[in-house]
Symmetry: C2
Subunit: 344 residues, 2 copies
Amino acid sequence: MSSKKAPTMSDVAKLAGVSSMTVSRALRSGTSASAKTRAKIQAAADELGYVLDSTAAGLSTRKTGFVAVTIPSINNANFAQTVQGLTEGLREANLQVLLAYTGYSLQEEERMVQGLLQRRPEAIVVTGGVHSDKCRRYLAESGVPVVEMWDMPATPINHVVGFSNKQAGKTMAQFLQQQGFRKIGFIGGNAAIDVRGYDRRRGFLEALDAYGLERHRYWQSDQPVLTMEEGASAMETLLEQYPDTEAVMCASDLSAFGAMMTCVRQGLSVPDDMAICGFGAYDISGNSVPEITTLDVSALSIGTETARIIVAALSKDNKEPISAEVVEIETKLLVRPSTEKISS
Amino acid sequence: MSSKKAPTMSDVAKLAGVSSMTVSRALRSGTSASAKTRAKIQAAADELGYVLDSTAAGLSTRKTGFVAVTIPSINNANFAQTVQGLTEGLREANLQVLLAYTGYSLQEEERMVQGLLQRRPEAIVVTGGVHSDKCRRYLAESGVPVVEMWDMPATPINHVVGFSNKQAGKTMAQFLQQQGFRKIGFIGGNAAIDVRGYDRRRGFLEALDAYGLERHRYWQSDQPVLTMEEGASAMETLLEQYPDTEAVMCASDLSAFGAMMTCVRQGLSVPDDMAICGFGAYDISGNSVPEITTLDVSALSIGTETARIIVAALSKDNKEPISAEVVEIETKLLVRPSTEKISS
DNA sequence: ACTAGATTTGTTATCGATAACATAATATAA
DNA sequence: TTATATTATGTTATCGATAACAAATCTAGT
């Protein structure tokens, strides 16, 4: 770590014997500069170890070159995949992702969005369709494209890339019902925290109602039930309270796996004694024994689609009005042995 | 998304009837401004929906307010935890994390570091102690604190927060040997890609040598073996080639779990027929049945320690020379049922 | 060789904020 | 009340780059 301060463009210009404007042009593509001076300037830049200050460049061009993204948690394979899709999709447009974590808190989301806006992102991506009033206003007035992902909000701010979590819950309930299960439980979280998980539960329970099935076998906590450990202890409680339960849907594959391990520990067979399904198509669901039935929401596509929309919105001439895109991502039920109904 | 461009500080100043310098002061803490004008300016700012442009502010103060971090993969719970520790530790110093993924490629790391430096981070954090020559030079000449984490490089660039991956491999080998296992295998990746995983293998095999144990039972690929699926198929191959293997160390808990599932599928009992240990103390290792022996490297502490060093380095007066800190994180062997030696 | 047109380079103003200094307003002490 | 210290506000220059325009150089066709 050298302590002398970084060389600037005019240092390079001086060394190369040209004006700094010429340096600026030589270091960019798509600008006119003779091959000879380009080489001369490149050499001077290398000698000084010059690195462009994109902070200053951005002030002039009014382009910062990054897209702000908020996700609930970094430690979640689904969001990680979405971010990967975003990163890759934005790379070709020379846009970097600036990530912030909200910890499933709307208040934190508001703070993060405010902080991110100070950095003048060229677009903003948020997870979910529910935000604090202030946050909605920040987003709406930001002057840049906004994408809400992982949900289908009733009143979108701008663009949307997601799927209906409620419908996802319904799909799972329908599947379990069709498989012949009747006493069906749910392990999941609370509305105030994990909005999307709660929507899934709502859809799930509504479907049970529609089929005339009992819907009291659920377990809830005021924290999202997303980890293996939480799933495991939730299943313990559920087995105590409703030992006759035949099948359970979990808010996440991780909690589904935890729940399954509780069954194994108690000598219950999955799916013979207890069928289990999860959500999110995490690695674990396809690699456990038995493999776990789950809903694949194609987290990667959410990222790539979001990136596509952003790139399109930014490349459009400002003259034509940019219409808000709403993309519904297809979900896919992965039927696996953990929910095989034994013909008894 | 409104299309009129964002208001600037002088817009606020005009509305409030003061100079823009006064606005600048009123909107910051630790600056002199009367309560009355502060309120007046705040009101004007709110009315206009003004958001500070930290890009411009940074150009003047020469502080961008963020720290650049490169990690091999976002989809890795260990690195996610480290990032979380970093984020939290830096938040109180008002520093944001700018994340980039290298995909376990040194070449990509070089590109990322170069790109990140253009944004003038106040510090740079990289994963591992091996970098391309160019990348090393970039880092060394960046003029800001550099932290290499997750390893103990022989010749550090600047600060270090990590542990010896080689020693970690040795520790596991020693443990398995002490448990009474003799025919020990290894499932892991290749040097060119996952440097740290390879170091662990090196330590592991050296220890086997030291104990006079056979060391041919390893499986290697030119890709890192870090996922459950990779672990599962690696174990299949290993069982074919060396069916007499008694115990296996895996480069990660995820591959360890995959390997364990292969055993289960083939009717082998863990640990009776095959002992398995992993690395990284992922959730899965503590929640599977049986639970998997692993090495906890305290990924979170790596993040918080790194954050601490950065905050300290940045707060120090530039007068006193900043000495490079080297912090060795303590690792902890978590002994679990997956490696219980049956007294036969 | 000469001129129109194309290409390369230079000059000046500007992006939106803050630092540094200068000045005005207010508070405090003698 | 006056002098002095303190606080509040304004002015000007600057951070490091690029846009917009201007000038200089080169190229090609006749």
